[in-house]
Symmetry: C2
């Protein structure tokens, strides 16, 4: 099944203890698409400026990602500059230039309208909702958000949450969204806002899925029992940028590639999410995802199993 | 196989968001013994004052823990007062009165001398080393330590580490001991100091075992691959005191109960460690461990498997 993703396609200047890169290709939709493209067809909705040229386009083409929904307009693409010098788990933002993203009006190509899987990456919830409503055929909808929308755009965000099958956010965001420091209680609070399933990303400690009463996946009988996927302990995290979006791409890409969404498939999707996140951070920007092979992914999946399984 | 544990038996006054308890029975050796007692025979070496009476003794007796090595002397027992009001993951210490512990000279009863398993709980490394040397028959030795010894008693601690099969510490301690912020690199650094295996406890995110070249357990062929046990997501952590010691007790107790120390046994031991930690925090002090049954433990072990396993 094809996935349509709406989100940012951007340029990032990144500094980490491993070095610095200027204006690498980034953005949530970019990381998500690259990661998901190893599992299924991916279609992107985004906006870029004149600085987005053949070289950037080629990154998507190489992974056969449908870019008809990437609108090219006058001006510059979204630009982010940040560093992780003190703490690899938290970016320090130096510059955020929305540029053409400030007036982003998502346009959905006709060819995208049969996408049964829809991913609403971290953008203005007003836009997330608009895209969701414009794609009523989507049978499974997942999304991400961030502290800025949780704090200052709560009513719009709550509208989006009502229509989500899966919400993927990190610990801090989950606690903030539910206004509760205990993760299990926070998860219950978030699930009460609408999403059938909540995936909380813990960075270097992996991710936990919490299941609501209106269970997704169907047949999920352990509503009381969450599921935890590990993260791979890595001797070097070169650049954490995009790890969460790559997790989402691996997770949702794997789900979309399966004919049935059983609890077992959901669990494997969590592992594939962690696998893709572990690759993303091995090099700067999207470098590692660009050169990755499906064989490497499946090998690492086995490592993840050995990391966690008793037998 | 019997375990001998040396460490503190103490009184704790604890405040958490769930409430407050005055002078409950505590101390690393207490939590460790109670947790391990569900798996094997446990013998304690500690010192207490005149405030340790029949009521406290009865807690050990009820779990058939050998207390011949608990020395009773004039004065008061070790006393700790702390709170977890802002952060359940980190205790704020208000009072530490070493009392009789300040002049602790561990004495090993004759009846303990055939113990094949020895656990050196978090005490002065000079004493840890003395006990280790006095029990040369111990075939498997594990230990714990803390930031205070790592910072200010490093030479003595390094002597202890050389003789350990397994060191159990938390993330912060591992990073401090190796002076390295990356956990995998820190683990390599710690393993180079002597322990064959390092178990790093992550609090609410579980624990990871890293294996050195001189592999323990024998047959551990995945020196490059760590093993991660989850922690149980809990809707209420009443009191985190003793969670790490209870982990150690479950882990080491299970190991000591098995006839062969295979990699599979080691993995199950990690899970039993997490299981015991998850119970310990459900009520104040040792309350939950005192009323626990082996049946509850095995039920929760299955929950841990479901939490992490794909199939």
């Amino acid at each position: 099944m094809a996935i349509t993703v709406v989100g940012s396609v951007a340029f990032d200047s990144i500094e980490t203890p491993s070095g610095r890169r200027e204006r690498c290709l980034g953005g949530a939709a970019t990381y998500f698409s690259l990661a998901a493209s190893f599992f299924t067809d991916v279609r992107v909705i985004a906006v870029v400026g004149e600085d987005f040229g053949r070289r950037q386009e080629a990154v998507f083409q190489a992974r056969k990602i449908d870019t008809r929904g990437i609108e090219h307009t006058a001006g510059k693409s979204f630009f982010w500059e940040g560093s992780y010098l003190d703490n690899l788990n938290e970016a320090k933002t130096h510059i955020t230039d929305l540029n053409v993203f400030a007036v982003f009006e998502p346009k959905i190509p006709e060819g995208y309208r049969d996408s049964e899987f829809l991913f609403l990456a971290n953008i203005d919830p007003v836009l997330q909702k608009r895209v969701r409503e414009a794609m009523p055929q989507a049978k499974l909808v997942a999304g991400d958000t961030m502290n800025y929308w949780i704090k200052d755009h709560r009513p719009a965000l709550l509208e989006v949450l009502k229509g989500l099958d899966v919400l993927l956010i990190n610990d801090t965001e989950a606690r903030m969204l539910a206004d509760n420091n205990n993760l299990v209680q926070a998860a219950r609070g978030v699930l009460a806002l609408g999403p059938h399933t909540l995936v909380v990303k813990h960075g270097e400690y992996g991710a936990t899925a919490f299941f609501g009463e209106h269970s997704f996946p169907a047949g999920q009988v352990r509503a009381a029992h969450p599921f935890r996927a590990p993260a791979l302990p890595l001797a070097e995290v070169v650049d954490p940028t995009g790890a969460g979006d790559s997790f989402a791409g691996g997770f949702f890409g794997y789900l979309a590639s399966q004919s049935e969404l059983t609890p077992a498939v959901f669990r494997r999707a969590m592992f594939y999410g962690s696998v893709m996140g572990s690759f993303a951070v091995e090099r700067f920007g999207t470098e590692r995802l660009q050169e990755l092979t499906r064989e490497e992914i499946d090998k690492r999946f086995i490592v993840f199993r050995e990391l966690t399984h008793l037998d």
